[in-house]
Every structure is written in structure tokens, then in C-alpha cells.
Symmetry: C2
Subunit: 408 residues, 2 copies
């Protein structure tokens, strides 16, 4: 993939549903600016990556020693293609709002990256690799949580387990499904790296962008661990909850994507600091809004049942503040109700509604709302004085407001 | 880590047991050639990597935006350090014979890489990153197999589960241990990449070495999947067994490490093809010898109980040839005995001995021995005409013979 300069990916060929605007006129060579449909372009780049991977592994002989280019020269078995690669491709290509590449794109544009042309396409291709890291996180997260549903369909491990059961294969179906899902996650993680690397070769700029990439991956893993650890240890401190939000959501979903995009454009320390400050605030606000929606939102909109976080024992800031406030008032009964409810797998919708009302009466909901407002203000203050093009500033301001209200 | 030129790592500082020979005279600045104690130098590089990681995450403030260098600027929590990073460091630093970096080193030397000096150190540092990939493979493999022992001690997931139980944490201990082990494996995988990257920056040569690195990682994951798949599907074909050996052992442990080392030295296609041909043959021979030792070797030497592969249902060439030969003779009883024994968790040592004798009587053992001899000859033939320094040729010849007889 490294040897040829890239043009806008031909969406029709790779079977990606969202046709990018530049494809309207097939005779047109110069691609349209990407600002208008970032998510569509990301989906097209991902579709092209999987199509290239599949073509490369199907066409090349196993002992081809030419070894030029970035593809694979190993013929991978049909089972691996259909039972792992195809599942990973489907999972990745059907994925959500592409929030992480979108933030990376605006980091690129904020740092003066062009809106179109080969460099812009390479930058957005690099940013699209974030979706593969995210696929790893979600696929393995579902294994760890034992969640059988994702995006309204069977989680990857559950689908593989079902195939095992239906095929009457040997051994435990659940164990097999989980093992294959862990491997599919690993594959997403290493292919993310391949995709980034190939884009960086096109872009001809390397070192700077590797720094946020490295850090983001470690922060994601650390955040995921601390989330598990907080649940296991039933940690109650608001600081511990915020620490998980900071690593698992803010750094991974907003701050480092912005940092990555800015580094791709060769941004200096001042702008990077401003964008990271924005990302830390906005990313944390985004998570806190998500926590509130999980208990006070409409399940038809959020896509998950009310109180799911409580049921799973997730240590949210909302819960931590509720317990803290109950204890400060000497209200042992309320504290006990919250403690017993968190991590109770049999928690009913009525139980969840009762705890939601309790958290509201304790002032925890209002305290989280205040925190969100403050984080959004602080995040926006970080970019106020930073020099950047008007489009980038407007986009970041809009996304800050969306993160504080609702974005997903 | 990228900003300063590296000297030989101070083994004492990083607490690595095997002191490299260059440390005998502390006043000496120029490092001794690495040929004599490759494994010791690899251990020292890994020790230094973990020490640097730990120092970086302990010392830097969380919002430091300077972002130079390759370390982390995120302060990672004490729990993550002690419960994940320290466990991964211990696992990696206590690891075996460093076979993969050793092959990479001889790929480097075969392609004309120097025996000492800064470039040699950077090349061996890059090769040492293979041990972190291997740590990921072993840690996650133990989760998938449900193996509670590794290198005579508790497997990582089992140790974490025990900590959970002892601490009376919330939720299931087994599930928690497995989740943390999957994350520790992910961390090893991404840190392998970081370590390679930092070494490549030192070396100033990048593109070529990324090709075998990318392919090896995909081949490893594909090989691991095909191994699980063959067990689940009780696949009986000798070709299917050899395919797993080719990807999971030969490509990952010998062929791609040699390719990586040669690419670090800028080797051309001819030498790479010769080394890969050698690696494919020798690596497969190595695995077949391991399979034979598992049934006919001394458990005090191999470190695992006789017949463990049979018990786990591993689809070895030995088993596949046994079933094939029994069926060809119309000996349904022997075929049934082998099929029933493979994957039987209650298989006793006496059962294993009986099946070992049966495989011998069917000629399967001798057929595998013949195959090993042929693979070693074919592997050696690949490097016979290839130009390379005498030390590298002698080392590769010695390792070929060891792989065919016993090396681990």
C-alpha cells in the first residue's frame, strides 16, 4: 500500500454505504474538501483498508520474497478470512459516529492542515486507524463484561460461540467464542498500527505523530484496567471515578485524537497544549453526560436499558458523589441503598428509577451537571487564545457544546 | 527514549540477572561484540525498557505538553503499575532462551550488520521487542487454554485471580484474572511496537524492517486462530497440522525474526529469500521435534507432563499421520483409539504411553523423524549459496541442527 500515491478511495469498489461527495462526478480527479463528510470518508478509508488486506492475502504466493509494499505476502487460510477477518471488517465498517477520527481531523485542521489534496487524505487515513483501535477496545470489552449485545446485534464473541454451537464443534462454545474475540481484538490492534504506518509513509511525516499514538494506546489499556479495578474494589472516591473518565474517555477519545491530528500537521507545543487542555475537559464532560443519560435519558435514544451502569457496578462520578453526600449528611440508609444497588445484577427498572430519584434528592445529579458545565467552559477556554483557522475553531466549539449536552 | 544515543545498558541498574560480558570492566566504554551473549544483552535491553517506562510515568506531570521523546507523559496509577506493569515486567524478564531475538540477531549479522557499536545495539534492541510480542502470545494463550501454570509458576491470569480472591474483591475472581491478563497481553503488544519504533529511530532505518514486523504479527494471530480452530473442528489432515506449524512456529519464531534482522541491515531480496527459506524449514522442524518430545521426551527436561498435547486435543502432524496410517490400513480400532484420546481431559499417563506406542507401531513417529531430517536439509540448502559472514553461517548451521534435535 505504501508504493502508490492515494486518491480518494472508490467507495463503490469497497462496498461502503456512505458514498463520499467527491464520487458524484466520476470524471473529477481533484477530491472535494473533507470537512463536509468526515465520517463518510473515514468509512471509505476503512473499507479500502480491508479490501486491500483481503486482496493482498488472496493474491500473493506464500513464499514471494519480493517483500515490497505494506501488504501481506502470506496466504491466509479461508477460515481465518471468513471467521475472523470478515467479522472484524463487518464490525469496524458498521461502527458509529467515528468520533475519534473526527476529533483527529479537527486537530489536523486546527494546526493548519489542508482541507483537501493528498496530504489531507493521508492525514484522515491515519486518523481512521483510530477506529481499529476502538474496534479492539469494544470487542475485548464485551468479552470482559460478558455483554452479548453490541449495537443491537450479537457481540462478536457471542456470534462466534453460536457458530461453534451450531457446528457442534469440540470443546466449550463460550470459551471458544471468547478466545476468537480476543484474537480478533489483537488483530484490530496490530492492523491499526499497520494502517497508521502506511498513512504516515504517504504523508512523509512520522516521528511526531507516533508520540500521541503510543501514549493513547497505553492510556486506553490503563483506563480499561482501572475501570475493572474500581468495580472489583468497589472504589467510592469521586477522584477515582474521574481518573477512569480522564484516561478511558477523555484521553483516548478526544485529547489524543486531537493531539494526533495536530502532530500530523507538525503543530508546536503551544497549540498541542491548548488542544489537549480542550480535549481533557470536553472528553470528561462527554463521559459525565453519558453517565447521566444512562440513568435519566431515554433508552430508545441511548440504546441501552436504564440503569445498566448501576447493574454492572460501574463506578461513575454520579454514584461516588451520591454516596459521599449521603455519608456527609449521616444518611446511612441512602448510602447503603446506593452501595447495594451498584453491581446488583438483578437490579430492576423500578430499582434503578428509585436510585435515580435518590441521587437527584442527594444533589448528585445537579453536582454532575455543574461539573459538566465547568468542564466545557474550561475546555473552551483552552482554545480561546490559540491561533487556528475559523472552520476548526467553529467545529471544536460546536463539538464542545454537543459533548456537554448529548452527542451519542 | 529517542533523543539520546544509547550505550550498552547498565544491567546492574535495571536488575537483570545475566550481566553482559561488557560489564566486567566498568571503566570500558566501547561495548564488546554481542555475538557471545545475545540472550543476556536482550534481557538487559528489556530490563532497561521497563525501567525507562516506569521512570517516565512516575516523574512526568500528567499535563506536560512538551511531548518530546518516546516515553509517556501520563502519570499512571499505582495500581496499574503494581498490578499490571510489574507483572508484565516480571513475566518478560524471567523469560526463556530469547530464541526469536537470537534468530533476528543472526539475520542482522548474515546481512552484514556489525557485531558491535551503536547500530548493532540498536538492532538488537529492535530484535528484543520480539520478546514483548511473545509475552502477549503466552499470556493470552494461557487464558485461552485455561492453563494455570507457566514456567513452573502461576500463569498471569491465575496469579491475578488469586489476588482478587485473597482481597475479597467484588465479582468473579476467574473472570477478573482473565480480563486483566488480556489487557496485560495488549499492553505487551503495544509496548513491543513502541520498543521497536524507538530502536528504529536510533538506527535511522525504518521502512524495510516494518514489513516483516507487520507480517509476523498477523501470521502469529492467524496461526493461533487456526490452532484453536483445528482443535474445535477436530481437523485430521496432515496439511492442516503443518499449516499451523508453519504460521504459529516457523513464521513467527524463525522466519520473520531472521527477516526482521536482515531488513534492519538493509538486506536485498535474494538474501531475505534465502533466510526465509531456511526459517520456514528449520522453524517447522523445531515444532515437530517439540511435538515428539512432548510424547517421547523426558518430562523433567521438557517441563511438561507426557501427553499434554494429546490431552489438550492439539492437532499435531504426529497425530494426523497416525490416524491417516491407521485408516489406510483399515485399522479402525487404532484410528478410534487415537481420535478418542485426542482432547480427552482425563487421559492418564498410562493412556498416553499406550497411544505413544500405537503411534510408533503405525510408523507415525518415524515419518515425523524423516520429515524433520528433510526439513533441516531443505532449510540448510537455502542458505548454502547465499553470501554471508562465516560467523553467521556457522551460527545458523548450529541452530538448524539444534532445532532438529532439541533446543528447548
Amino acid at each position: 500500500m505504501a508504493e502508490s500515491a492515494r486518491t480518494y478511495p472508490p467507495a463503490a469498489r469497497v462496498g461502503v454505504p456512505e458514498a463520499p461527495p467527491a464520487q458524484d462526478d466520476p470524471a473529477r480527479c481533484a477530491p472535494a474538501p473533507l470537512d463536509g463528510d468526515i465520517a463518510g470518508a473515514v468509512a471509505a478509508f476503512l473499507g479500502e483498508f480491508f479490501a486491500d488486506r483481503r486482496a493482498a492475502v488472496e493474491e500473493r504466493p506464500p513464499d514471494d520474497a519480493a517483500d515490497a509494499g505494506g501488504g501481506l505476502d502470506t496466504v491466509l487460510d479461508a477460515e481465518f478470512q471468513s471467521e475472523v477477518v470478515a467479522r472484524l471488517a463487518e464490525f469496524t465498517l458498521s461502527g458509529g459516529k467515528r468520533i475519534r477520527p473526527v476529533f483527529a481531523w479537527w486537530g489536523w485542521r486546527a494546526a493548519g492542515g489542508t482541507a483537501d489534496g493528498p496530504a489531507a487524505h493521508a492525514a484522515l487515513r491515519a486518523a481512521s486507524a483510530l477506529e481499529l483501535v476502538h474496534a479492539c477496545a469494544l470487542i475485548q470489552d464485551d468479552v470482559m463484561d460478558g455483554s452479548v449485545l453490541r449495537r443491537g446485534r450479537a457481540a462478536l464473541h457471542a456470534a462466534v460461540a453460536e457458530q461453534h454451537r451450531r457446528s457442534r464443534w469440540s470443546g466449550g462454545s463460550g470459551r471458544y467464542g471468547e478466545s476468537v474475540a480476543v484474537l480478533a481484538g489483537d488483530l484490530a490492534l496490530v492492523w491499526a498500527d499497520d494502517m497508521l504506518d502506511e498513512a504516515l509513509e504517504e504523508l512523509g511525516a512520522r516521528g511526531g505523530a507516533r508520540v500521541p499514538w503510543r501514549r493513547m494506546r497505553t492510556e486506553l489499556i490503563a483506563g480499561q484496567f482501572l475501570d475493572l479495578r474500581a468495580q472489583a474494589g468497589r472504589q467510592e472516591s469521586p477522584d477515582a471515578a474521574l481518573r477512569v473518565d480522564r484516561l478511558k474517555t477523555a484521553a483516548y477519545s478526544v485529547e489524543r485524537p486531537l493531539h494526533l491530528g495536530a502532530a500530523l500537521a507538525g503543530a508546536g507545543g503551544g497549540l498541542v497544549a491548548a488542544l489537549r487542555g480542550y480535549g481533557a475537559g470536553i472528553g470528561t464532560a462527554f463521559q459525565l453526560r453519558d453517565d447521566l443519560l444512562g440513568l435519566y435519558g431515554d433508552p430508545a435514544v441511548t440504546g441501552k436499558p436504564v440503569g445498566e451502569d448501576l447493574r454492572e457496578g460501574k463506578r461513575t462520578l454520579l454514584l461516588a458523589l451520591g454516596v459521599e453526600r449521603a455519608l456527609a449528611r449521616g444518611d446511612a440508609e441512602s448510602a447503603a441503598a446506593l452501595r447495594d444497588g451498584a453491581g446488583e445484577p438483578e437490579l430492576t427498572a423500578a430499582d434503578a428509577a428509585r436510585l435515580a430519584a435518590l441521587l437527584e434528592a442527594l444533589g448528585a445529579r445537579a453536582a454532575v451537571e455543574e461539573r459538566i458545565a465547568r468542564l466545557v467552559d474550561e475546555g473552551l477556554a483552552h482554545i480561546r487564545g490559540a491561533p487556528m483557522p475559523g472552520e476548526a475553531r467553529r467545529a471544536l466549539e460546536t463539538m464542545a457544546v454537543q459533548a456537554g449536552t448529548r452527542i451519542r
